[in-house]
């Protein structure tokens, strides 16, 4: 029934700490279908990175506790999967790239060694075959002199070049899903554009679905067909990107879009969302956004709102006020 690559349903997760627990995820539901490029937007504490790390089971075992929900990737129950299963998935079926290209590459080894290692591990190819593959991947990333790059060490390359190498490594095994966690936040804007275009081109060519995590709304609007907006560990709004950006329904999404400096004239005070992100160890009983929300009412402080039932493609907001307006039960 479900051809989705990644399927998360009502997932709740917490990190036990001294005198309490950090409730990082609170009933998150999201879906990535084949060949889709889906964006997840949120600020710090929204849980977007935790979701990505959990999907790859990269969180330190025993440091977290899943209190509800499920996470299925390519048909496998990731929460229960053994490390062996995960090893088979990571790198070959699912790839991930991170924000800091500086630290993602082993500084003591040459690029060639790093790339060959990944290719040979998953494709069991011989040395020469792997080398040819690495060269062709780098050429596919519009790298001018791939032979030279294979011989260099990471510190000799710029941030943008490193990210291109990482993308090449990520795509080397034709994964079904690529999880990109803020891949261009640390890069210059001119380089960012190139890297994102490359990522899109490769994903289309290899039929790879992409889960794109970022805080940059503009980038999401340019590259992703659907978007999820996260706040304090829940999805507060989801839908087709163009609709969500043009006509946001959830007060938080509206607040975020209105806080962008490009929207107003010079020196005009920005519409800042008052208050601050809640402490994840002490989430309020009702909606996590209620203390800062201009539309907050009684119901909002009682129960946390949830996304109305509906399939992906609809534009939904997890907000009592909005649902009341729509006449939802």
């Amino acid at each position: 029934m479900d051809a989705s690559i990644l399927s998360i349903d009502g997932l709740s997760l917490e990190f036990p700490i001294y005198q309490g627990a950090v409730r990082a995820l609170n009933g998150v539901s999201l879906r990535v279908g084949p060949k889709e490029m889906v964006g997840v937007v949120g600020e710090s504490g929204s849980g977007k990175s935790v979701t990505a790390m959990l999907a790859m089971r990269l969180l330190v075992a025993d440091s977290y506790r899943v209190t509800a929900g499920s996470l299925t990737m390519l048909g496998q129950d990731i929460l229960q999967a053994s490390e062996r299963t995960m090893l088979g998935l990571r790198g070959s079926q699912v790839a991930m790239i991170f924000q800091e290209p500086m630290t993602a590459l082993n500084p003591t080894r040459r690029i060639g060694d790093l790339m060959l290692e990944v290719i040979r591990l998953h494709r069991h190819s011989g040395r020469d075959e792997a080398r040819a593959e690495a060269l062709s991947l780098l050429r596919g990333m519009h790298v001018a002199d791939p032979e030279h790059v294979l011989r260099t060490y990471p510190f000799e390359l710029s941030g943008g070049m490193r990210q291109r190498v990482l993308l090449a490594m990520a795509f080397s095994c034709k994964p079904r899903l690529l999880i990109a966690d803020e891949p261009t936040t640390a890069l210059d804007v001119t380089v960012q554009r190139q890297v994102l275009l490359l990522m899109r081109e490769k994903a289309r060519a290899m039929n790879t679905a992409v889960l794109f995590i970022t805080h940059d709304m503009a980038v999401v609007s340019q590259f992703c067909q659907r978007v999820y907006v996260m706040y304090a560990g829940s999805v507060v709004e989801d839908g087709p990107t163009a609709e969500v950006m043009a006509a946001p329904r959830h007060p938080y999404t509206r607040g975020l879009l209105h806080a962008l400096p490009d929207r107003v004239g010079s020196r005009v005070p920005l519409e800042a969302i008052r208050g601050t992100v809640p402490d994840l160890t002490q989430l309020p009983r009702g909606c996590a956004f209620a203390p800062r929300c201009p539309l907050a009412r009684e119901a909002c402080r009682e129960r946390p709102p949830s996304l109305p039932v509906g399939h992906a493609g609809w534009h939904r907001a997890a907000c009592w006020a909005v649902q009341e307006e729509d006449g939802q039960p």
């Binding site: 600020e43 710090s44 519009h142 710029s158 941030g159 943008g160 070049m161 210059d188 804007v189 001119t190 380089v191 960012q192 554009r193 190139q194 994102l196 275009l197 490359l198 081109e201 805080h215 940059d216 709304m217 503009a218 980038v219 609007s221 340019q222 590259f223 163009a242 950006m245 043009a246 607040g255 975020l256 879009l257 806080a259 962008l260 400096p261 490009d262 107003v264 010079s266 020196r267 005070p269 920005l270 519409e271 800042a272 969302i273 601050t276 992100v277």
Partner: protein, 316 residues
């Protein structure tokens, strides 16, 4: 016309890297290659550029952490040197994690008065500025890790205000902050400038922030200013090809991306060995005869461009 608060005249800065066996430097990083800049009182001057353009070094030269290798820095022609403070990008690392916040805020005052102020006086001063940045007085005994990113940046701003400076250097003040927090901090900065008559030198790679905050903007590339003028003119109708490239690359909400950008060269030429002539020549769509000569910042008082081709387009 008000006399400038600070003037940079043909400032060059280079850092030695790599040494031969005798201890002499073999290679240099040319961070600033001839910067001329006036900072006028009461304005916000934005400096925008990508990594390697030298904007961080510019901040360090202005604040006095780095001495120019060539060129000069002049203060106000009349009185004492302009009093300056700096607000750093990362609110996490710019506050000493083991000092209570009131000590952090009052530290500049303590140093300026050579330790003669009493503990009570320092606390009092800290409370006064903390009120201006909306940090409640009972929070002042806490430690930085007990505050959020936005609050820490407020503390850093309070620290910059405590000695009543003339000029505040804002080095990427909101780059490490969330969007909603950024809006609050930008509003606060604008408000403080109006109330206290401050001058800001705002350095950022975020074009939207610079556009929102600055009166004038300087675009930097490889240690030089390539375009300088009023914000609306430079950012709305840029003349220099690099400024155009930069503005085109900034993602805009809802606008599709130009696919041709894929094959363009985007690598910055290194600043170890400077290119001859115009630094932007290799990437410039307008490159032609005359570009092999070093370009000068030319134009009118309101708008200057470092490009012999585009200098002709400057409106009079």
């Amino acid at each position: 016309m008000n006399a400038p608060l600070l003037t940079l005249q043909d400032v060059h800065v280079r850092f030695p890297i790599g040494m031969d066996w005798l201890g002499r430097s073999t290679e240099w990083v040319h961070a600033l290659n001839g910067v001329d800049l006036d900072i006028l009182p009461g304005e916000t001057l934005g400096v925008v550029g990508e990594s390697g353009c030298g904007k961080t070094t510019l901040a360090q030269v202005v604040i006095g952490l780095v001495k120019p290798t060539a060129g000069a820095l002049r203060g106000r022609p009349d009185s004492a040197t302009a009093r300056m403070q700096i607000v750093f990008q990362d609110p996490q690392s710019s506050l000493d994690p083991r000092l209570p916040v009131w000590r952090i805020i009052s530290e500049p005052l303590h140093v300026e008065r050579r330790g003669k102020l009493s503990r009570a006086a320092l606390r009092q001063a800290a409370m006064a500025v903390a009120a201006q940045v909306e940090i409640p007085p009972d929070y002042l005994d806490r430690y930085p890790h007990e505050f959020s990113g936005g609050q820490r940046q407020r503390i850093a701003i309070a620290r910059a205000l405590v000695t009543e400076p003339d000029l505040i250097l804002l080095d990427e003040p909101t780059s490490a902050l969330d969007i909603s927090v950024q809006a609050q901090i930008l509003n606060l900065l604008n408000d403080l400038q109006r109330r206290l008559g401050l001058t800001y030198l705002l350095i950022s790679h975020n074009v939207a922030v610079v556009r929102h905050m600055s009166d004038r903007v300087a675009v930097m590339y490889l240690g030089q200013i390539v375009e300088l003028g009023r914000t609306e003119e430079v950012l709305r109708a840029p003349l220099h090809p690099y400024t155009r490239l930069l503005l085109e690359s900034v993602p805009r909400l809802g606008e599709p991306v130009d696919e041709d950008a894929l094959s363009a060269t985007t690598e910055l030429p290194g600043n170890r060995r400077l290119p001859g002539g115009c630094f932007f020549r290799d990437r410039c769509p307008l490159a032609q005869a005359g570009c092999e000569r070093p370009q000068a910042l030319a134009g009118q008082a309101r708008l200057r461009v470092r490009c012999h081709v585009q200098a002709q387009e400057v409106p009079c």
